[in-house]
Amino acid sequence: MYSRFYLSVLLISGLVLITFLVFATYRELNPEWKKYQLEYRDLLIKNAPNEAARKKARSIKIEHQQIYIKPLKKVDRCMNCHRGVDDPLMKDAKVPHKLHSGDYLKKHPVSKFGCTLCHYGQGRATNKKDAHGKGRDTHWDYPLIPFKYIQSSCAKCHDYLFLKDNGGEMVVEGERLFREKGCRGCHKLNGVGGDLGKPLDIIGSQPIAYFPMKYVVGERNTYNWLKQHFLDPRKIVPGSEMRVFLSEKEADLLTTYTLTLRAEEMPRQFRAIRYTTPVPKDGESLYKMYCVACHGNGKISAYDEILKRTIPAIMNPAFLKIADDKNLERIIKEGRKGTPMTSWKRTAAGLRDEEIRNIIKFITKDRPDERPEPFDYKRFVTDTKHGKELFNVRCALCHGKDGKGGKDHLGLNLRNPAVQKFVDPEFLAMTIRDGRKGTPMPAFGKTGVGLSDQDIADLVAYIRSFSDKGKK
């Protein structure tokens, strides 16, 4: 019944099936890489020196060229296409058959290191697009690394002292920049550093999805993101508070260095650490490492459009004159809550006490000798109301009517609990009286605007009363 119908269905679908089996087989038998290997064989035959070599070349098998690196559990099939990469005969062949440039392979035989260890890309893939990992649809997080950043791979096994004079200068330079641009003022590395920014320990090996690629120009990969972000943070991440102003060159250096901060740990037999790099401990380097990003040279105080606040000039003599080491140490250790200044003590941002002491020594290196004449706040009976009136006419201009300072105000936030907690009235009074030479803070004492000590005491009392309000 209906046999003719079913028989014809059977016949047709059978034929279709066979056709597709044939197609599939054909596709499997002629992958992309086979073409290259055939080219390679022809090249070998062409520039074989003698008959024996030619015979040998004719007999080479066209098959998967897989490098399996057991300790790394790594599989590289790049040589499916780049089969001539370690073949001296291929010196002046053209890509992909070309011999590897330089003499790296002499020290790093492909059989032991493979390719993707340094160049990245997808080692398991056997077609160009996937192997090079270009494009979003390859779904590969570590595409082929641009040549200008390749040195970052050397740092996987080699130490800086070795790299410095063995072709790893970019990493070393980058590391220096990293130290001197004060990146760690906001970013933690090995658990030490501020916490405004993200920790950088494995930034180099983060998957692409980790980075907001929206505004990246060109290929969307980690390399471009890092560089363009270094050049203009606010272009890549709108509203970013990162204070970094670099030249093209510096951006490349830093990118190279950042790419060396990776999660994976190389097994011992691969590492060639001979010396350990000495980490400078002196005040100046520490200051550069942690403070310079915001405080700059510490001499001038300027309103900062990025952080939307005035950054105090911590090396300004007038300031150092009244701020003694105890004060400074307390500020550095406790930080200023509600400001970018984080607490730097061991348990927070991870600075050791002697490091902090070194930094203070550096900051206070040109502190004037003569001590300020004491104000002796205690002796006054203060009148907060009068202080409030004074405040509104004198201080409100810069510190804001409510003393909060903030956007487009020169003065700092007097209501900040940290200020209220750690700045003693004596200090306040002296500041108001003598002002801060070299900063907009004028001297309100007799020498300047002509406030009597009583007025100043009242002002201080009023400012101190903020915290009581806070409590209530």
Partner: protein, 157 residues
């Protein structure tokens, strides 16, 4: 199919159709089967490369006998050069050990002489020798994928 059907042409046409259909079905079945079998054959082996460094020549003064356990290999060095002999018994693949008269297999008692020729036991053939080369940086490399005739030694100059 039915041989009793009166309408002959009918039958023959249907039979032809049926035969063709069944034929293609069988054919495709064979194709699928072939594919299935092919899938089982691995195209790549997850093994480390057969070529590996054994160290600088200086580490092998004349008269050395060094066994590389992880590579299953003996490396010798005498007046006229270096040579590498496998430690894998050619009988059933046990690991032989060195004796003063040659090599002895613990599993089924195969015996080989210094050169690796069979002198007793069930082993069908002698222990093969492997090619030794030298890298640019001077270190010796054994290529366990290339056998060389017994007695060929790498002369280090």
């Amino acid at each position: 199919m039915s041989d009793k059907n009166p309408e002959k042409g009918e039958v023959s046409r249907r039979d032809f159709l049926g035969l063709a259909a069944i034929g293609t079905a069988v054919l495709s079945a064979l194709g699928v089967l072939a594919g299935v079998l092919r899938i089982f054959k691995p195209d790549v082996h997850f093994e480390e490369s057969k070529k590996f460094k054994i160290g600088k020549p200086e580490q092998f003064p004349v008269g050395t006998v060094k066994k590389f356990d992880d590579k299953k290999l003996f490396v010798f060095s005498d007046e006229d050069g270096f040579y590498a002999i496998t430690a894998v018994c050619q009988h059933l693949g046990c690991i032989v050990y060195k004796t003063d008269w040659g090599f002895q297999c613990p599993c089924h008692g195969s015996k080989y002489d210094q050169m690796g020729n069979v002198i007793g036991g069930p082993a069908p053939r002698g222990l093969p020798w492997f090619k030794i080369e030298q890298l640019v940086d001077g270190s010796l490399v054994v290529d366990a994928s290339k056998e060389v005739p017994k007695g060929t030694k790498y002369i280090y100059v």
